[in-house]
C-alpha cells in the first residue's frame, strides 16, 4: 500500500506528507524472492530501473558497476542470475533497489529465503551500506533477532486481522553489526519483551479464526 500497488480499504497513506495515489518511483522495493530478470546479466539487472527511467547508457552502467562493487559483486557484472548463488542474487536485488536512489526502502523479508550464515553476512552488509546515507527503511521480517538488531523501532503485528499491536523503540547504539559479537543484556531485555508480545500472536495464527 505504501508503494501504491494496492489502495487501502479505509484510511489514507502519506509519504513525507503527500498522499500515495499511484506507484511512487521514490520508493525502492525488495522481495524475499530476488525477482531478477533471468535473461539479463547482473549488470543489466541492476541498471533495469534506470533503464526504465531512460537514463543514458553510460550513466546507468557506471551506477550499476558502482553498486555491484558496494554489494560485493564486483567481477560478476556479466553473469546471469542462474549462475549465481541465492545470496548473490539477493545482493543483486539489493543493488537494483538502491540503483534508482529511492528515498524510502520497503523490504519484505529480503533475507528470509537465505540460509542462516548467508543471512547474517547480508544483514551486516546491509547495515554497512545503510550507514552511508541512513535512509528510511520499512523492513518486514519473521525473525525477531533480525528485527531488533537492525531496526530503530519494531512494530509487532497481530495475527488476523493484521494490526500493529505494539511499537517498541530499539535504543541500541549504532553502527551495529549482527556478527561482531553478541549484543549486551539490553538486547536480551528487548528480545524477551517483544517475544512476549509475539508469542501470543504466533499461537493465535496457528488456531482457526474465531
Amino acid at each position: 500500500m505504501v508503494s501504491g500497488l494496492f489502495t487501502p480499504a479505509t484510511g489514507r497513506i502519506t509519504v513525507d506528507g503527500a498522499p500515495v495515489t499511484g506507484i511512487n518511483p521514490r520508493i525502492g522495493y525488495m522481495f524475499a524472492r530476488d525477482a531478477l530478470l533471468p535473461w539479463r546479466t547482473t549488470l543489466a539487472n541492476v541498471a533495469f530501473g534506470l533503464e526504465l527511467q531512460q537514463q543514458p547508457l553510460d550513466r546507468r552502467e557506471a551506477r550499476a558497476r558502482d553498486l555491484l562493487r558496494v554489494t560485493g559483486l564486483g567481477g560478476f557484472e556479466g553473469s546471469y542470475p542462474s549462475q549465481l548463488s541465492q545470496g548473490m542474487r539477493q545482493r543483486v536485488s539489493l543493488a537494483r533497489t538502491l540503483a534508482t536512489n529511492p528515498d524510502v526502502l520497503l523490504m519484505d523479508e529480503p533475507f528470509g529465503a537465505l540460509d542462516a550464515q548467508t543471512k547474517l553476512v547480508l544483514e551486516d552488509e546491509f547495515l554497512r551500506i545503510w550507514e552511508r546515507d541512513r535512509k528510511t527503511v520499512i523492513f518486514v521480517t519473521h525473525d525477531l533477532f533480525e528485527a531488533i538488531a537492525m531496526a530503530d523501532r519494531v512494530a509487532v503485528f497481530s495475527a488476523r486481522p493484521g494490526r500493529i499491536k505494539s511499537l517498541v523503540a530499539i535504543d541500541l547504539p549504532r553502527p551495529r553489526s549482527v556478527t561482531g559479537g553478541r549484543f549486551g543484556p539490553h538486547f536480551q531485555e528487548l528480545y524477551d519483551r517483544l517475544w512476549d508480545d509475539l508469542r501470543y500472536e504466533v499461537v493465535a495464527a496457528g488456531s482457526p479464526p474465531s
Partner: protein, 279 residues
C-alpha cells in the same frame, strides 16, 4: 596457504577434463549405435528386395534410391523443386509466425479480446487445416499462393497459442518489480513480457517450421507445377517408387537441417537459461 587453492583448481580442471572425455566417449558410442541402426534398416531393406522376397517395384531399395539421388542432383532439375518448396514454406512460415506472435501478444494484452476469440481460435485450431487445401487451391490457384496460404494457416495458430501462453505465464513477481520501478505499459511488454515469452515462442517456431514444410508439400501433392510435393505426386502417378523415396529423403534432410538451424538460433538467444550439466 596459497598452495591449497592452486591444488583445488588443478583438481577441478582434472575433473572437468575427465567429464569432457567421458562426454565425448558417450557421444561416439551413441553415434556408433546410430550407424548400426541405419545399416540394419538399409541392409534388411536391400536384402529383402535383392533376394526377391519383396518386389522392388513397390518398395524400391536403398541402392536404387542412392543411384537415383545421384542422378537427380547431377542433372540439376531437382534444385528447382527444392527451391520452390522452400520458398513456399519460408513465405508461409514468416507471415504465419509474424501474425501469430503479434496476435498472441494482442490476446495477452487485451484479456477481453482473448475471451471473445477463445472459442474461435480453438475451433479453427482443431480443424485439420490440411482439409482446407482444396478450398485454398480453388481460391488462390494452383501456383505459389495457395501453398503459402496453407503453410500460413498451419503456422499462425501454433504461434498464436504459444505466444499467448508464454505471455500469460510471465512470472508475476517480475511484472510487479518492473511496475514498482516505474515501467510503462510499453516497457513492461517489451522488456519483461516479450523476453520471458521467448522460450515459448521458440518452441512454437520450431514446430511451425516443420508445419510450414508440411503445408507446402501437401499443397503441392494435391496440385502443383513444381516442388518436392509435386515430384512425389508425379512419381507416384507413374509408379516410380524410387523417385518418391528420393524426394522423401530430400525432404527429411531439409527438415532436419532447418531444425538444427533453429536450435542454434535458440541456443544463442537463450544463453541465459541454466545449463544442465551433461546436456
Amino acid at each position: 596457504m596459497s598452495a591449497i587453492p592452486r591444488d583445488a583448481a588443478a583438481v577441478e580442471a582434472g575433473a572437468r577434463d575427465r567429464r569432457r572425455r567421458a562426454r565425448r566417449q558417450e557421444q561416439l558410442w551413441t553415434n556408433g549405435w546410430r550407424l548400426v541402426v541405419l545399416v540394419l534398416i538399409a541392409g534388411t531393406w536391400e536384402g529383402a528386395t535383392g533376394s526377391g522376397l519383396v518386389n522392388p517395384f513397390w518398395v524400391s531399395s536403398p541402392s536404387l534410391i542412392v543411384v537415383d539421388l545421384w542422378k537427380q542432383f547431377s542433372l540439376g532439375a531437382v534444385y528447382l523443386h527444392i527451391g520452390v518448396t522452400l520458398y513456399e514454406a519460408f513465405l508461409g512460415f514468416v507471415t504465419g509466425a509474424v501474425a501469430g506472435i503479434l496476435g498472441g501478444f494482442a490476446l495477452a494484452r487485451w484479456d477481453r479480446l482473448a475471451r471473445i476469440f477463445d472459442p474461435y481460435v480453438t475451433a479453427l485450431n482443431s480443424l485439420p487445416r490440411v482439409a482446407l487445401a482444396p478450398l485454398f487451391i480453388l481460391w488462390f490457384g494452383i501456383g505459389l499462393t495457395s501453398k503459402v496460404v496453407l503453410a500460413f494457416s498451419l503456422v499462425v495458430f501454433i504461434l498464436l497459442v504459444n505466444t499467448h501462453a508464454g505471455a500469460r505465464n510471465v512470472d508475476q513477481d517480475l511484472v510487479i518489480i518492473a511496475r514498482l520501478l516505474g515501467a510503462t505499459r510499453r516497457q513492461l511488454t517489451l522488456k519483461v513480457i516479450l523476453p520471458s515469452s521467448i522460450p515459448w515462442i521458440f518452441a512454437g517456431l520450431r514446430l511451425g517450421l516443420a508445419y510450414a514444410l508440411i503445408g507446402a508439400v501437401v499443397g503441392e501433392v494435391i496440385v502443383a507445377q513444381a516442388g518436392l510435393g509435386f515430384l512425389i505426386a508425379h512419381y507416384a502417378g507413374v509408379f516410380n517408387t524410387t523417385g518418391v523415396f528420393s524426394a522423401l529423403i530430400i525432404l527429411m534432410v531439409i527438415a532436419m537441417l532447418l531444425n538444427e538451424l533453429m536450435k542454434a538460433a535458440e541456443k544463442k538467444l537463450l544463453r541465459w537459461r541454466p545449463q544442465i550439466p551433461g546436456l
